[in-house]
Symmetry: C2
Subunit: 545 residues, 2 copies
Amino acid sequence: MSEMLIPRTPSAHNYQLLIKNMLYTPMVNNPDQEIVYRHHYRGTYRDLRERVCRLASVLTGLGVKPGDTVAVMDWDSHRYLEMFFAVPMIGAVLHTINVRLSPEQILYTIDHAEDDVLFVNSEFLPILEQIRGRIDLVRTYVLIADEPCDAHTVKFAGEYEQLLAQAASHFDFPDLDENTRATTFYTTGTTGLPKGVYFSHRQLVMHTMGLLAMLGSVVGHGGFRRDDVYMPMTPMFHVHAWGIPYVATMLGVKQVYPGRYSPDLLLELKEKEQVTFSHCVPTIMHMLLKHPHADQMDLSGWKLIIGGAAMSRTLCLDALSRGIDVFTGYGMSETCPIITISQLTPGMLALSPEEQAMIRCRTGLSLPLVELRVADSTLQEQPWDGKSSGEIVVRAPWLSQGYLKDHKASERLWDGGYLHTGDVAVRDEKGYVRITDRTKDVIKVAGEWISSLELEDIVAHHHAVAEVAVIGQPDEKWGERPLVLVMAKPGEQANEKEIAHHLRQYADKGVVSKHVVLARVRLVEAIDKTSVGKINKVALREKYL
Amino acid sequence: MSEMLIPRTPSAHNYQLLIKNMLYTPMVNNPDQEIVYRHHYRGTYRDLRERVCRLASVLTGLGVKPGDTVAVMDWDSHRYLEMFFAVPMIGAVLHTINVRLSPEQILYTIDHAEDDVLFVNSEFLPILEQIRGRIDLVRTYVLIADEPCDAHTVKFAGEYEQLLAQAASHFDFPDLDENTRATTFYTTGTTGLPKGVYFSHRQLVMHTMGLLAMLGSVVGHGGFRRDDVYMPMTPMFHVHAWGIPYVATMLGVKQVYPGRYSPDLLLELKEKEQVTFSHCVPTIMHMLLKHPHADQMDLSGWKLIIGGAAMSRTLCLDALSRGIDVFTGYGMSETCPIITISQLTPGMLALSPEEQAMIRCRTGLSLPLVELRVADSTLQEQPWDGKSSGEIVVRAPWLSQGYLKDHKASERLWDGGYLHTGDVAVRDEKGYVRITDRTKDVIKVAGEWISSLELEDIVAHHHAVAEVAVIGQPDEKWGERPLVLVMAKPGEQANEKEIAHHLRQYADKGVVSKHVVLARVRLVEAIDKTSVGKINKVALREKYL
């Protein structure tokens, strides 16, 4: 085959897909555009370029070499954006520490990722002080401080802004191999220890290009273009805030970093900076809509990608009634993350809010270059009939090649040459994917698959129910039976029998399998959650089975 | 460095940037969208997929193997689009023959590219009959016929539609190396024999992604999105019609292939199929605007990329007055081709047509991932002041690595690790590039660079001038002096002295260098052109110096 490969002129530049190359056009086409951090910082893209150079000078001054790992504990900020670029651009790996993990888990990820340098916001010093004695490899600490900093015992090489001010403002970034690792972070998952996921320069560039194409080509809603104002509302430590800060930078749009996600601050920045494009989990959107300030604000036209968890139809309708353009983005840490978006056609935009919500809550259409299959157990594609379910498996230019130092889990992830999402879905004749469950959360009753998510959705409609989780209880006769765990609304009298009856009514109407008559309902004090707020079915199974 | 490269899970799919991967999303998201060829064919994207499979079956049935070359002589059509995909997707190379070359030059390119199979439209049989006896390597000929075909002496393996009808409708396309050569074609240039340029799968995918990002992110004009209707008006044999059929296919938009470029047909299709996005050379736009049918048509909103030659301000204003959204695309065969587009900001769209024309006629802003420099002779970047001129040199993910079997020319093209365009330009503080001349067409008078294009532009404004070309005449005292070759308008009395005076007036006003007083004007019968209609300065120099 080698004779078919294109002959390269020795002097021809072998162009690599590198993070530094994403900076050419925004710096050219929009150098005076703004980047804002809360009330603390307001700079331009010109400043971004200079600060990325200064940060690179600081890093190499601290002895950071290609292949070293630079870890960060910070709130979402312009600094985090600068690290998104400068750290991989010198050939080092950026470890974005999940600050919501427990101190012990944070210690584990710092050790596991073999961090060499740690940038830490003064607000996280209490965590660091707890674990610092047990950190083995970190040789240099850099302080990040929005405010003058209290007494502490850590010996810092310096403070971020001071170090930048003293550093050289020019840096010649090397031409790396595009497969050089650029970033690492840890997925919390629901089982065992956090797992390290990693991405190369090429993967981050291709994810950016795929999103640019998907969000640029759509018509009538949901576009992300050069006149937008961007504010992320998912944390930068988690899958690079879904990779969208890279997209925003390549577009050269105004960017607003809010730091923490207090609804007051988010709504204030949204209004003051005229934000038009954001992304968040359903909980954040719910919080914003319920906030008293939201009532007096014009939220119409705000484009909002919802991901991380399924958006309920009620929440979607609530947002639509406020004029917010909400739609679903889907993916997972291992997929960089976005592989589908629930974009609507102009025809669909003429539908009623209820009909639109059906589509906007779906998992969506696959992005350019993504080969997505709703597959049976032999990886063959299921019919596109909106009914035949299978696991979502995928190939794309931006999927993680595996988990850091965990060969077995990597092999499982890539079984058969497709990345296994573990999500069960159906696909309709228009190509829209709709997740019905997690593979491991499907309940097999008398040989029939019942979606635990579907049951949860039905039970959640009962007036007395605050939260619900459904798990499969092993059963000699039926294989499994659904166990419905219910947390009642404060002040409401939830009744197990009544809820079982409520569920059965849906079976009588043919909405769910008649096997749900076998469901057992149990009232509980609380539903266990993971560190990112998802229902922790592993913990629930341990507790209640 | 190898330890920094990302560890690959053995079973993980090593995703390659392949032409076949561009088909996933249009086939998913818009399977019923139309592809039209004149009045002869109307199919869907579903049909495209099936026909690409059938064509692949035909090719392998004819014994085409990976690395073989399949040549095409056809008008722009749905068939050509099918070949854009099927030929590279089986690992073969598509040679798009420039049917405007002389039969001798066509023979040269068929031999030089080592074509194995030749698809030929019956309208080109007279050319083929002339050279067939001297074609060495082609072992199989396939006929393309829009109409029943006249007698001929070529022994064909079959006719395109008949072969497709008999072939298998499913094909498993291989996972190739992304650096596999996908296409080859010949640039006519102005010197010597045609040169073969070639592109890999990866380069064509990246050019498509770059254009999608550039044309999707723009606001207020010039966008190419999912509701557009596409009709190319630059030939598919020349740099894959600027690569835009690939972009259109990935968008899943309606595509209209006109075959030949008669203004009647183009205007008819534009109206009937409601075309909204096209691209052409200035001559074609001029022809369309001057056509009597154009007066009765509503051309407003037609997005038109102009390239191949500079668009004059007069022509631009003429198009703008008809509501056409014209703007410049820039590149060359060696750059795949597009590297800049003269997009306007919403603020610029509020300017007067005259002011807008200044911007729309510029070379433009560079595309995402493109590193473009207006460089001095040491490849250092010139100041962005709209005055300091230098050569445009470039790095991008989609540039040809060189010329086929021409090592020396490849080395010259890539001197110093940047692709040399041979275009002299300035860049303004907003990043817009404006070409002022070709490096080899700049005239050095008393050590000062004078742009031959600028002088041509001034002389062309003289009422008696039909065509003009300026070349540098060696001069002992001054180094060079401009020689102005003028072809008079029919019926006009052009006068050499008067034209020299006209030129001098501009020097008096300070518009051009005062050295133009040294210019000599000479009336000629005709200005020599290349096969693609550009002024052939090499021929002019041979003739007049």
